[in-house]
Assembly symmetry: C2
């Protein structure tokens, strides 16, 4: 592969930025990678690990002369960063982001960008429960999806170039409008995270079942929830505050369904439960076939199958 952008600036150097940088280096996709983060410790880690060629103390310095600027900060911080960098962007540069919410980010960022800059919001659908510059790895996006969400005025050339970068990083790319993106993510990500956080919170909160018991006996199902409920609190606070409407809509649907199942339990309606539990198996099969999860039993946590 060959260089797609001569200079890439990453604003924020956590899990996503460090993984992007490592994947760009793996593919030789960027001439120079410049990074910045508010904490000195994080900036030093980026240099030490070597996923940035250069770091700067401020975002405005980082974007100088950059052909691509990617905002990798929590959704709630995007507007402030855009305001800071707006006047310092190179004419013809592309600005993108990796935020989990798109309508709110577009609303916060777009007004601060000059007319001679291309804005192409994005969202790679990949992550782990770990965060910070040490958590990144080049394979994070391999075979995952990255959604690009062009805004009115996004130039097709700029979109195509960013698509090529993400494909070089290892991802498949789809395009989507912001409202649909936010609804799809409310289903596939935001509501599941909130529910996982809630379930873990409930377990932690009960007086009659101790934390020790919850931890010891978690292999009975509970532990599957704890991975995503260990995700970065600031990032997730911002997601829920900025994708409020779609999340509340899906939560409403979830509560309806839960009440229907709860009623089936209360009234002893075994057929309803059995039918429901049979239907949900098919979705799992689809995810395995689409290569979006491992088919190994128990997520391959150890202990193989007999054969």
């Amino acid at each position: 592969m060959s260089v797609i952008y001569d200079r890439v600036a990453l604003i924020g150097l956590g899990l996503i930025a460090s993984s992007m940088a490592l994947a760009m280096k793996r593919g030789g996709l960027a001439g120079e990678i410049v990074g910045t983060a508010r904490s000195k410790e994080t900036r030093n880690a980026a240099l030490e690990i070597g996923f940035c060629d250069r770091v700067t103390e401020t975002a405005r310095e980082a974007v100088k002369g950059a052909d691509l600027v990617v905002l990798c900060v929590p959704v709630g911080a995007m507007g402030v960063v855009a305001k800071e960098i707006g006047p310092h962007l190179k004419a013809g540069a592309t600005v993108s982001d990796v935020g989990s919410v798109k309508a709110a980010v577009i609303e916060a960022v777009a007004p601060h960008l000059p007319d001679d800059v291309h804005f192409v919001p994005g969202h790679p659908l990949a992550g782990t429960e770990h965060s910070g510059p040490h958590s990144g790895f080049a394979e994070l996006f391999d075979n995952r999806w990255c959604l690009l969400v062009p805004v009115p005025g996004s130039k097709p050339d700029a979109v195509a170039k960013l698509r090529a970068l993400w494909e070089g990083i290892g991802a498949h790319v789809d395009e989507m409008d912001p409202e649909h993106h936010d609804l799809v993510l409310a289903v596939t990500s935001h509501t599941p995270h909130l529910i996982a956080y809630t379930m873990v919170g409930v377990a932690d909160d009960l007086r009659r079942v101790t934390d020790g018991e919850v931890i010891k006996y978690s292999a009975a199902g509970f532990r599957d929830f704890t991975r995503i409920a260990a995700s970065d609190p600031t990032m997730w606070r911002d997601v829920f505050l900025t994708n409020k409407d779609a999340t509340l809509e899906i939560l409403g649907r979830f509560t309806e369904e839960l009440f229907a199942l709860q009623r089936a339990i209360r009234t002893g309606d075994g057929d309803h439960l059995h039918d429901y539990f049979t239907r949900t198996r098919a979705i799992r099969r689809g995810i395995i076939e689409a290569g979006q999860d491992t088919a190994a039993p128990d997520f391959g946590r150890g202990g193989g199958t007999r054969k």
Copy 2:
């Protein structure tokens, strides 16, 4: 290790029974393993895979002369099986089970057992989303917990012998009374499964987000729910019908907490969300430290860490 029971009879030959048998063979813990299942195909599979030394067409034949009989059928079928085998049990034999609910199983099974038989209910906290005789593997219980739930009249000797078997199989053993067991499992297993089933059902049900989108974009969090929502429907129907009270209690607590978080989203209370999401991280850490889950990012689904 040496033989603990000369003859073990397994009634039902699915994931748990086949894994127990393979682990007993690994440890040389049983002189002979006899199995039975309603389907001829399953019985043949048990012989072919080799985890049973002998199969019988009926449960009453299987238990003849057995020193330990383990009921490995769905919770709702335990009573019927107990009634069938009761008159054919050897004097001094131990009867156990692996059901996920204990109070209801004890109520269904105990009345059918003669006085000269030891009843020691049990529940190994391990499993995968796969089911049937082909899904078993000897390592399933390694480093997991098995809860024994002695009933009034369970002889200490019989309990100690069953404990030794489970330890030989690879598990840690705790004892607990049936009501506490059912509450602990409602928290760590039953409610999480119901919630996972619900979330997957909601995603499958939305008109505005297609199944294809849910599947493609599942790596954003949703797929973690689908593993346990792919578990055996009959087994889980029976769990909810027989552990009704504890499940409904925990579901009530869950709904309360969910409504509180929903309200925080609606009113924009970021501090509440951030505090909640910070607290839940500690539980994950506890589970990793207790050796009950993998510390590898993303359940080690592939893609290593940077080093």
